[in-house]
């Protein structure tokens, strides 16, 4: 059992890749915002990389253990401590019954920290996943963020291995100025946006709005040129189209405002999407600080984006770990 002493700002149970295959029912996949740190944490404690763990956002959470486990914390530095003693990120530790794991406030760049516990968080599987999907109030612990007093069941611990770490050269580096690989489409130029619009999109240093969360990342307002004068039958504004499905990670432009549709986002709607964040770059979104961080989009094609995914999958393997 994992007892929640404090849920902090927003702590949820997630698994990877979340609820895949339900887009046609209106359900985005959920899952961790930073799937790289999340999967690494699981790997460190001997879990399947996709096993259910915790996503701690913006800091401040505390957990107590009721039996012996192996834990790892990966992602943003929230000054994690076991029984008050500082521990390193990207490294597995043993905890005993009665021990506490505390995550404090953010220290340096990054915004989300991931806690993996050997055996995984054993909340019920809902529609194929344990991931918390707040818009539908399903998955995770009662479909919501964790609160003080919640008791999380844990799975059977298998080949848990404390005392391992991610090789220091392979630990991802965080920044406040991100470069995010993205692929054009489906309503980019030439028929919805102009070439100049897309050049601006791929060169501007966008600021992430403070009203950004798991459903969407809002970027700066921009006066687009638009290739069409109106949205025709779909509405007065050229950003309007007849409703269509939205890709996960799409940069959706509603009027003047681009919004990246993150893992809890809407599945379908009537606004254009000028680009889509490459699957292998989605993790970076999870570490951006709303209201402060800047991001530029770097254009890649489908083949280059597929290559990114393969590189990432290679990274998430035993070869990336070492004994301490």
């Amino acid at each position: 059992m994992l007892e929640v002493k404090s849920g902090g700002i927003e702590t949820t149970v997630q698994d990877y890749p979340g609820r895949v295959g339900l887009l046609d029912q209106g359900i985005f996949p959920a899952g961790p915002m930073d799937d790289l740190a999340f999967r690494m944490a699981n790997l460190l404690v001997g879990n399947d990389p996709g096993a259910a763990g915790l996503e701690v956002t913006a800091g401040g959470a505390e957990f107590a253990f009721t039996d012996n486990r192996v834990v790892a914390v990966c992602g943003a530095d929230m000054q994690p401590r076991i029984n008050g003693e500082p521990i390193e990120l990207w490294r597995s530790y043993e905890v005993k019954a009665g021990d506490t794991l505390t995550l404090g406030w953010l220290n340096g760049p990054g915004f989300r920290s991931y806690v993996a516990v050997s055996g995984g968080i054993d909340v019920p599987v809902v529609l194929g996943s344990r991931a918390t999907y707040a818009p539908g109030e399903i998955g995770g612990y009662e479909g919501r963020a964790l609160k003080e007093g919640d008791q999380l069941p844990l799975g059977n611990t298998g080949n848990a291995t404390p005392g391992r770490r991610v090789k220091p050269s392979l630990v991802p580096t965080y920044t406040s100025e991100w470069v995010v690989e993205a692929v054009r489409g489906p309503q980019a130029d030439p028929d919805y946006f102009t070439t100049e619009d897309m050049e601006f999109f791929f060169s501007h240093a966008w600021t992430l709005d403070r009203n950004s969360n798991r459903t969407g990342y809002r970027l700066d307002i921009h006066q687009w040129q638009w290739a069409r004068k109106t949205g025709g039958v779909a509405g007065g504004h050229p950003s309007n189209i007849l409703d269509n499905g939205y890709p996960v990670g799409a940069v959706n432009v509603a009027g003047d405002q681009p919004i990246i549709l993150t893992v809890d986002g809407p599945t379908l709607g009537g606004f254009v999407c000028c680009a889509v964040v490459a699957m292998g770059a989605m993790w970076k979104l999870g570490q951006m600080v709303p209201g402060w961080d800047k991001l530029r989009f770097k254009e890649v094609d489908i083949a280059q984006a597929a290559e990114l995914v393969q590189q990432m999958n290679q990274l998430i393997s035993e070869e990336s770990l070492e004994g301490v």
Partner: protein, 330 residues
């Protein structure tokens, strides 16, 4: 090989021009793991939805390696695929092959359940959220008359009064062309064009909408699966279409009630008190949802029905346009 006409620029991966029996199809790159397949032009044509759902079913049945899922909408299918295993060209070819093998459009029969949902018009819950909107968001919203959107809806569509608007909502079957935005939210379109109400959206949007609220914007009717923000003009409330706690047999297999291709009708008409009782019965498991699981939709028959009712539908459309011109928009 598909006959691409060479119009491949930017995100358009292939364009297959219209020819006898099939509309133009455009294949658009939608990132590194999605592709958007668009039928015809950007115009509202409900019959495109039948082609979409026909092809969508074929794609699901075929089980192409690397294809993850499909998202049908009114004139498009968004395909989710694994680009490390399935190259875009191969995917386009596979879709074209499947489309060519579909039976002629006029002979399509689509599995289409019939579902009827009780409705309380101008109910106290939607009125309460509309009152909050007037108090906190916009005092002079022209789409709110006497604390509801029904009277405005009647005015905008050239109907006699709110009562006639309610009759129109109940008179047609509503075609579920897509499910999305929120979990289980249906995008429903009127199959009988003689009763096809059209309305503009809220401006600005409304921060609150009750779960189960029924609203219209453009030609589309939506039922709100969860309490949420929204922009549709509200006119009533129905029973749950989404239950994450799965408290009724209708939700036993899936917390989401409706699917693309379903046909929904509203009725019987109930009071607020009756709706409360029915909703309680839904949650304690004693209410039985009215669903005909085995119904099918005959496209040819429907096309003949459209032809038979064309003149009346046109007359209503003209009446609506005149009314809309003299009605303020939000």
């Amino acid at each position: 090989m598909a006959q691409h006409d060479g119009q491949t620029s930017g995100v358009i991966l292939a364009t297959v021009p219209a020819r006898e029996g099939r509309p133009k199809i455009v294949y658009r790159q939608a990132g590194d793991r999605f592709m958007l397949v668009e039928f015809g032009d950007m115009e509202f044509d409900l019959t495109m939805s039948f082609r979409v759902l026909g092809l969508n079913q074929a794609l699901k049945d075929h089980g192409l390696d690397g294809l993850i899922e499909t998202v049908p909408a009114i004139r498009s299918i968004l395909i989710h695929y694994d680009s490390t295993r399935l190259k875009p060209d191969r995917l386009i070819q596979a879709v074209e092959d499947l489309y060519e093998q579909l039976p002629p459009f006029e002979t399509l029969t689509i599995p289409s359940r019939r579902i009827s949902l009780p409705i309380a018009f101008n109910d106290r819950w939607t009125r309460a959220d509309i009152a909050r909107y007037v108090e906190h968001i916009r005092k002079d919203a022209p789409n709110i008359i006497n604390g509801n959107n029904l009277e405005y809806g009647a005015m905008y569509n050239g109907l006699r009064d709110a009562e006639e608007l309610m009759e129109y909502v109940m008179a047609t079957e509503w075609w579920s062309a897509a499910i999305g935005f929120f979990p289980g939210l249906p995008f429903l379109y009127p199959l009988d064009r003689r009763y096809a109400i059209v309305l503009p959206k809220y401006n600005p949007t409304r921060p609150w909408t009750p779960e189960g609220a029924v609203g219209i914007a453009g030609p589309c009717l939506a039922i709100y699966p969860v309490a949420s923000a929204g922009g549709y003009q509200l006119f009533g409330r129905t029973i749950p279409i989404y239950d994450p706690k799965q408290r009724n047999a209708a939700f036993a297999e899936n917390p989401i009630l409706l699917r693309p291709g379903d046909r929904v009708t509203f009725g019987p008409r109930v009071s607020d008190e009756e709706l409360i009782e029915i909703r309680e019965a839904v949650y304690n498991g004693t209410y039985e949802y009215q669903i005909d699981h085995d119904a099918t939709f005959d496209v040819g028959e429907y096309l003949r029905f459209l032809e038979e009712t064309r003149e009346e539908a046109e007359a209503f459309r003209r009446r609506q346009e005149e009314a809309a011109q003299r009605t303020p928009v939000p």
